[in-house]
């Protein structure tokens, strides 16, 4: 709250994902591709294979144009983006790991220079010197992964750092090694996939078959090794986070499960076109394989980013930049007193700092469809009990009056008509909609928190009483503040549960 807030029309998650996924996809290729180049060059020189060296030079050009330009700059782009989207989190990471970033910079400098000299040295340097540059490049590229991996994994599993504050405790955190092994395997796989693409452009002859097979093996081996590493990584995620993900977080688990399909598709394409019919590998198939690689790795990154919700640094800072350590101060003084840059609209300022990191009114993760037709009292009640909603929302630590101000701000941007008018519903159907909007966020039919069985046991007369006293039934339960016609419709709907409806 010490910083202004960038009110980006799109969601923060979308922008961050777009930049980050492209970057990691190229950055891991920069490591695996470097290894592929120098290992294959060594073999080609030993075998006096001029055709393979020509192929490697071609790959080298593609490699430099991809990694040095888009790879390096999207890396800077992530830094720029996160600085705009969550400056408080970047400030924590920089102050905690400044020397790791600085080491990373020295490695990056050597890596960039080695790549340039390796590329320009193809027809200028003696083979041994050229390969030495290749090995230096790979070593420093991998070391840069080593250091950045410590910072990335810290955000999900800060481990003992939370109690000691020690740099090394944060750096060598519980998921450091599994993540490093996993990412190294992915890098090898991507090195193969990119080379697969270049090999696909060759004339359909024996040489093409040989190169396609060679690159496919890299991809298959990298993929095969990365799967147990991924399992290892999952196992080292603290049980509290893993359990919460399995029970309450559809997004990360969906991302993880999607990644398996992509992995299967990669394996299939590499086996078929890489090993069985390599000569018939068409450029379009190689592009699809690479896209599957992007999908696979992108899904993993999506999982990693979303599984740590509601935090940006688990146990330390929430996704909206609210520091866990300042809980008492926020509860005592509220949010507004902590917001350094004000727009003159308190509700808007509070909304941006408390909610806007994840939600828009009608764009990414929109509130409008979920809250249209409701009232400020209901919205304020939801804000106050935010962490109970889905298990991945940060708590609202501000004053009750601030929750009311946010609710008014949101309400002013919603459809002012009643649910009946908005959706054109009446009777039981309207009741079902009222249930979905007012009750279903915590008690979805068939989902976690489903109360169908309990509700079905109640007598018809009890429903009125239940609705009247909803806010007394449990912590965080909002009062049913809808209009009378919606209440009646809700009762009609609840009656159908008794008869087995609604399921």
């Amino acid at each position: 709250m010490k910083y202004p807030f960038w009110d980006l029309p799109a969601g923060y998650g979308i922008l961050m994902a777009a930049v980050a996924i492209v970057h990691v996809f190229i950055a891991h290729f920069a490591i695996g591709g470097g290894l592929f180049l120098v290992v294959t060059e060594r073999a080609a020189r030993k075998a006096a294979d001029a055709a393979r060296l020509t192929f490697l030079e071609r790959l080298g050009k593609f490699f430099v144009l991809t990694t040095l330009v888009s790879g390096a700059l999207t890396g800077v782009g992530i830094w720029f983006c996160i600085g705009l989207l969550n400056p408080a989190a970047v400030a924590v990471l920089i102050h905690t790991f400044i020397w790791a970033w600085a080491i990373e910079w020295t490695l990056f400098f050597v890596e960039i220079l080695a790549a340039i000299l390796y590329f320009y040295g193809w027809n200028r340097m003696a083979p041994a010197g050229h390969m030495t540059l290749g090995w230096i490049y790979f070593l420093f590229a991998w070391l840069s992964l080593f250091f950045i991996n410590g910072i990335i994994t810290f955000m999900l599993t800060p481990g003992r750092w939370l109690s000691t504050g020690n740099f090394w405790d944060g750096f060598f955190n519980p998921t450091f090694w599994p993540s490093l092994v996993f990412r190294s395997c992915v890098a090898a796989m991507l090195g193969g996939l990119y080379a697969f693409l270049i090999a696909a452009r060759s004339k359909p002859d024996d040489f093409k078959a040989r190169m396609v097979r060679h690159t496919a093996w890299w991809g298959i081996c990298g993929l095969a090794a990365s799967l147990p590493a991924l399992y290892w990584y999952w196992k080292w995620i603290p049980a509290t986070i893993a359990t919460a993900a399995l029970q309450d977080m559809p997004t990360p688990m969906r991302a993880l499960h999607t990644s398996y399909w992509f992995a299967g598709a990669i394996a299939l394409l590499l086996l078929l076109f890489g090993l069985i019919i390599p000569r018939r590998l068409h450029l379009s198939v190689a592009v699809i394989t690479l896209a599957m690689g992007l999908g696979w790795f992108g899904s993993f990154e999506w999982f990693r980013e979303s599984v740590r919700k509601p935090y940006v640094i688990v146990g330390y800072m929430y996704g909206n930049g609210v520091e866990v350590a300042n809980t008492e101060a926020y509860e005592k003084d509220g949010y507004l007193s902590q917001i350094a840059y004000r727009s003159g609209d308190d509700g808007g300022d509070l909304f941006r700092h408390a909610c806007r990191s994840c939600h828009t009114i009608q764009g990414y993760q929109p509130l409008k469809p979920a809250l249209d037709g409701t009232d400020p009292a209901f919205i304020a009640a939801l804000i106050k009990s935010a962490p109970l909603l889905r298990g991945n929302m940060p708590p609202f630590l501000g004053k009750p009056s601030e929750a009311d101000a946010i609710a008014s701000y949101i309400k002013a941007r919603l459809d002012p008509r009643s649910l009946s008018a908005i959706y054109g519903l009446q009777g039981v159907e309207l009741g079902a909609k009222v249930y979905q909007i007012r009750c279903g966020k915590c008690h979805p039919i068939g989902g976690r928190g489903d109360k169908t069985v309990e509700l079905a046991k109640l007598s018809e007369g009890s429903y009125q009483n239940l609705i009247e006293n909803a806010s007394d039934l449990g912590r965080g339960m909002p009062a049913v503040t809808c209009v009378e016609s919606e209440r009646r419709a809700l009762i009609e709907y609840l009656k159908t549960l008794k008869a087995g409806g609604g399921k």
Binding site: L73, P87, I98, I103
Partner: protein, 360 residues
Amino acid sequence: MTLPDSNVLPGPLWLFTALHVLTLSMHFAAMNFLLGGILIVIAGRFERRWENPTARRFIALFPAAMAITVTLGVAPLLFLQAVYPRQMYSAAIVSAWFWGLIIPVVILAYYFLYAASFAGNRDASGKARFLWPALLGLLYVSLVYSSVFSMAERPDVIQRLYAQNQTGWQWNPEVGDYLIRWLHMILGALTVGGFFVGVLGKDDPETFPIAKRMFGYGVAAAAAAGLAYVASLGELMASLMRTPAIWALAGGIFLSLGSLHLFFKRRFLVSGLALFASLILMVITRHQLRLVKLRGHFDPASWRIAPQWSPLLLFLVFLIIAMVIVGIMLRLFFRPSTTSQLGLARRDSGGGFHERNQAD
């Protein structure tokens, strides 16, 4: 459980300042080579511009210079963000779109430089076609940097602009804060570019006079713009002159003129060292001005210092290793190789990039 306080500086303030000044000076040197080089290649009075060997060597070097400029730009930004996070991020957020656009613009400029470099002699007009957009891109980036970093020193401006609009489309309206300074930077780039053109083209009778002209006029114009900027500071000028900036400024001017004199005498190494030293002194002056402007808003000495000695030591070790490895790599690269040593490297494959450039 008491959570760690990350609102601390993990090393001595003087070290962050020194690292920032040093790495920013290195970034400026590389950036000036690139920007000044492009300006001179495009606007220098070459008779047959695209056939001039020095211009061609420069064009071939631009992509590598871009990579080095970007890499060297990361470190000063990192050290600056460590000490001035609130000022830096706040200014960037208010101008978020312009700031964020830097990345795609630099990517495009980078690809244009590669395109110009790959165009070879077969497509002389293509080089101009590619260099112009790259130049415009770099000018955009430099202008955004000047605008945002100037705004970072004006919390009142950030506050005012943010209250008006939160969408990140606010351009710094205090043009007087940065326009002359930006011009000073561009003219400085021309100066340093002139120096490098002179070094690379010292034996070329057409190029060296161009380099001398660029260097000479560049120093004069940059000094004039610099002095105009200092004069435009108004009341702040008196405060600035009461800091070590006055010595840095005087030393910078003296060293620039000395560098020019030595350049004309063809003593390139000493001239280059003097030029780099003057660059460092200008960066120090800039740093002092930041402190003066932020006075009353923020004092970096107010940071609580909690040094992380072992990672800091490891960084210094890696810095030394990196320097040694860079030396080894350059030695390997420039080591003369006979054809027999090249083995399979020199194949009949159309030649590599370097070979093609030499052939050009």
